[in-house]
């Protein structure tokens, strides 16, 4: 907030990004014009208790004069009788009671501030491992992410995770705030080492840029103003960077798409299709195609409360009318006839699991995509991402906060783009049909043509093992299903001939060997040409709960690297 000079009401100070500068009064008309021309930058932050994230945001808000006096008073403490009152910057941003009690940030909080150039929305998220889902939530609407680093510690798991989630959710720009520079003596060497590490890290993540800034949130260096303690640093302060970085024009890369939210029909002479433009620009008179019907017409009007428009661009909310009477309803998409989105029932997607109840392959979920909700299943998991190493691992479920690449089968065709082309038409959420909880967040990678589903023969993974399950038909069936879902070649047999077993092992399949004996479960694999019994211990664990057991067996196979991470996966 700029502050007012003593003088007349109708003049206010220009917002200064340097708190020490003398305020320059400007007329209110000029201020309003400046206000009206501001654009919007949404960014996410992530951090844990001790890396100073809340302090950094508190400092950013305070030094840019965006904090109200009563808020500052509420968090100013005097410790000891002779000490000067100090502002607890972290307390400016920590919200809920539970947080204050535990001293941690537990969820996504949104903060707002503005300068003379921009309005900012911060999605502030916690950094703990268990909060991957919150980071994903914050990143889903962000144009930029601030990665926080403790200069004493360098890249920790948490910063790596945040950088990865930011890249997964399509954030094109990262800015790394290398914090606590005061505690490393403002060392240029330390900063440059971290900078090299960060650049190496994001180089592995594809199309993403990173800017590194040395800061001390506690002392205020390079947060809003450039600090005198880092004379070797010639780049922008954090706020200067945020104020000037171009906002990606992600909405307009594709041709026009309008997912229809609602048909507006006040009387029989007006039939308008209301929606928020997901991509591109539409002009009156343009030829458009309605999907999934594929019927074409021309735009008769682009109607708003403020009058008809000649054109409109993403992400404005509009109503369009067409020259022809097409049957269009909620869930349909009106798109440019050139390069329209695809209709797809099956697609491959990155999936972040959000719920304590793990994902279940084959279970029916509700999938909400743009303006329609359909039933859908995850038919297989291509792999799970180890978020610490970014390695791809096989998996037969996703626990809360896990991220995987999966194949989704919807009951009805959706009108989609890939997420990296368009966030709106490339994203979806999964909802549990019983609890109504939001359980998954998905980003479409590519459409899978019909008949090219998860079980195509060429995709099957070779792995060699014998699973001696005895007389447990349900376990055998469950194992078969889970292994097929991992695209492992599976054979079920009741043949009790060791030569046959050996042949199966050498053929590169997982053989589930059933018998009429209620024998103990054992697993054998090939090791140096010899079959080796690898898991007797597992046999003790076979309880009545066959579901859990099959899961345990599959996890053991993964752990023993019998089912190995896929190499040269065509989907990368």
């Amino acid at each position: 907030m700029p502050h007012l000079t003593e003088a007349p009401n109708a003049r206010i100070d220009e917002v200064s990004s340097r708190p020490g500068d003398a305020p320059v009064p400007i007329p209110i008309e000029e201020f309003l014009a400046q206000e009206q021309s501001k654009d919007l930058l949404r960014f996410s932050t992530a951090g844990s208790v001790d890396d100073g994230k809340s302090t950094l945001i508190g400092r950013l808000l305070y030094d840019s004069q965006n904090v109200y006096e009563d808020h500052v008073r509420a968090v100013t403490r005097t410790q000891g009788t002779h000490a000067l009152p100090t502002i607890d910057f972290a307390q400016l941003t920590d919200g809920l009671r539970a947080e204050r009690e535990q001293g941690i940030t537990i969820d996504v909080a949104y903060r707002y501030f503005s300068t003379s150039r921009r309005k900012f929305i911060i999605a502030d998220t916690p950094g703990h491992e268990q909060y991957t889902r919150n980071m994903a939530t914050g990143a889903s609407t962000a144009d930029l992410a601030i990665i926080l680093l403790d200069a004493r510690k360098g890249i920790l798991t948490q910063s790596r995770r945040h950088a990865y989630i930011a890249s997964l959710l399509g954030i094109p720009k990262l800015v790394a705030a290398v914090n606590k520079m005061d505690l490393v003596g403002y060392s240029q060497d330390v900063f440059e080492q971290h900078q090299r590490d960060l650049k190496a890290l994001v180089a592995r993540m594809g199309n993403i840029e990173i800017e590194c800034i040395p800061v001390s949130a506690l002392e205020g260096d390079n947060v809003v103003t450039r600090g005198e303690n880092t004379p070797w640093y010639s780049g922008p302060s954090l706020l200067e960077y945020l104020e000037t970085v171009p906002v990606a024009e992600r909405h307009s890369r594709l041709s026009f798409r309008l997912p229809v939210q609602r048909v507006i029909r006040p009387h029989q002479h007006f039939r308008g299709f209301a929606g928020q433009i997901a991509a591109g620009t539409i002009y009156r008179g343009d030829t458009v195609v309605a999907l999934p019907s594929g019927r074409k017409s021309r735009v008769q009007s682009i109607s708003t409360f403020d009058g008809d428009l000649a054109q409109a661009q993403a992400p404005l909310s509009i109503v369009v009318t067409l020259e022809d009477e097409l049957d269009i309803s909620r869930g349909d998409v009106i798109a440019s006839e050139e390069a329209p989105p695809q209709a797809a029932k099956n697609f491959e997607a990155s999936l972040v699991w959000l719920h304590p109840q793990a994902m279940h392959i084959g279970k029916t979920y509700l999938l909400k995509h743009t303006t329609q909700t359909v039933k859908a299943r995850v038919s297989s998991i291509r792999h799970r991402i180890d978020i610490e190493t970014l390695a791809e691992q096989p998996a037969d479920t996703l626990q809360m906060n896990a991220i995987g690449v999966v194949v989704v089968e919807a009951n009805r065709a959706l009108i989609v783009d890939s997420y990296n082309q368009n966030r709106s038409t490339g994203s979806f959420i999964l909802i549990d049909p019983t609890s109504n909880a939001t359980v998954g967040a998905g980003m479409i990678r590519q459409v899978i043509a019909d008949g090219d589903g998860a079980y195509a023969e060429k995709d099957l993974l070779q792995a060699s093992a014998l699973l001696m399950v005895g007389n447990r038909p349900e376990l055998a069936a469950d194992l078969e299903e889970r292994l097929l879902a991992l695209r492992v070649a599976v054979v079920r047999t009741r043949v009790q001939n060791p030569d046959t077993w050996r042949a199966l092992l050498h053929a590169g399949v997982v053989a589930i060997v059933e018998s009429n004996e209620s024998s103990e479960l054992s697993i054998a694999s090939l090791h140096g040409g010899q079959s080796e019994l690898i898991s007797e211990a597992l046999a003790q664990g076979i309880a009545a709960d066959h579901t859990a057991s099959a899961h345990a067996v599959v996890e053991a196979l993964i752990k023993k690297q019998i089912i190995a991470a896929r190499i040269g996966d065509e989907t990368k």
Partner: protein, 309 residues
């Protein structure tokens, strides 16, 4: 907020207010499409005025497809009620007014019960009763995330259990603009289309759009009870000052609530630009003038858990 018909550039840069407006309209339309029986909570304040304009825009040229609900505590300013009646009549919207008549008959007022219990009966209970009686499954509210710290974490679609309560630790993750409006019987969703607006955005939008607001927001000479730094409006018989405490003061209200619990501020701001100039010169957040938020640390969060907006 719309661009003019002759906007030349293909990808003109949109202002933050255009982006906020587009987001809010999207939210209104999602709710109207996905819920059986939505309602808009209409508090008569500036945020409600903006919400109402956005709802008009969302369904134009059709009518707003849901009613407005005003929870009248019985202690609202006379000017608020006059404004409510004339403005809703002018727009032709369906207005429902609900009061907790029983509590009012029993003589509930903040002087007798204290602000917490008074709010509980006349606001929270009244609101929950009204929502239940009418079977509303979604209710729009004008709360903004910049108002108060507990609001900063609330979702745009905020789930309420069958008792109308909010569980801040068990909120549905909300990604992109994909809102999960699925509810079970008796459950409901509170929807906050102004979540991402700030107080300055609201005023600026009112100014640009020429949105009518209650005259109490503009400075003029008013009869006030002056006590310390506080200016308490003299409207209710139980608000009585000591000799010399009642004075004519040039002042205005920054936020509108019940007259006994809403403090005024000394001000000369009698136009929107002056209000905006005054706002940016202040370093005091608007709810600081409301008595209720100071009841105890984190009091807004407690009220919200219980069902308050």
């Amino acid at each position: 907020m719309a661009m003019t018909a002759d906007t030349p550039s293909i990808s003109a840069k949109l202002s933050h207010l255009q982006l906020l407006e587009a987001e809010s309209i999207h939210i209104f339309r999602e709710v109207a499409a996905e819920f059986q029986n939505p309602v808009m909570l209409y508090s008569i304040g500036k945020d409600s005025s903006v919400m109402l304009r956005l709802a008009q825009k969302a369904f134009h040229p059709g009518p707003i497809p849901f009613p407005l609900l005003h929870v009248d505590t019985g202690y609202k300013f006379r000017e608020m009620l006059e404004f409510r009646d004339s403005y809703t009549r002018e727009l032709g919207v369906n207005l429902i007014v609900h009061r907790n008549e029983e509590a009012l008959r029993d003589g509930t007022n903040p002087a007798r019960l204290g602000t917490q219990r008074c709010c509980g009966l006349l606001k929270t209970t009244a609101l929950l009763d009204a929502l239940r009686n009418h079977g509303f499954d979604a209710a729009f509210g004008g709360a903004r995330r910049d108002e108060e710290k507990s609001r900063a974490k609330e979702r745009i679609f905020s789930f309420r259990d069958s008792a109308g309560q909010w569980d801040p630790k068990n909120q549905r993750p909300e990604l992109w603009n994909l809102y999960n409006g699925r509810i079970g019987p008796g459950e409901s969703i509170r929807v906050f289309p102004l979540s991402n607006w700030t107080e300055l955005d609201i005023w600026h939008y009112i100014h640009l759009e020429h949105i009518p607001i209650v005259p109490l927001y503009f400075a003029k000479e008013r009869r006030m009870l002056v006590r310390g730094d506080s200016l308490i409006p003299v409207e209710q018989p139980f608000v009585k000052g000591l000799p010399g405490e009642e004075q004519w003061i040039r002042c205005r209200l920054r936020s509108l609530g019940c007259s006994p619990c809403t403090g005024a501020i000394r001000s000369d701001a009698d136009t929107l630009p002056k209000i905006i100039a005054e706002l940016v010169s202040f370093r005091s957040s608007e709810r600081a003038n409301r008595v209720i938020d100071h009841d105890q640390d984190g009091s807004m969060e407690i009220k919200k858990r219980e069902g308050y907006f």
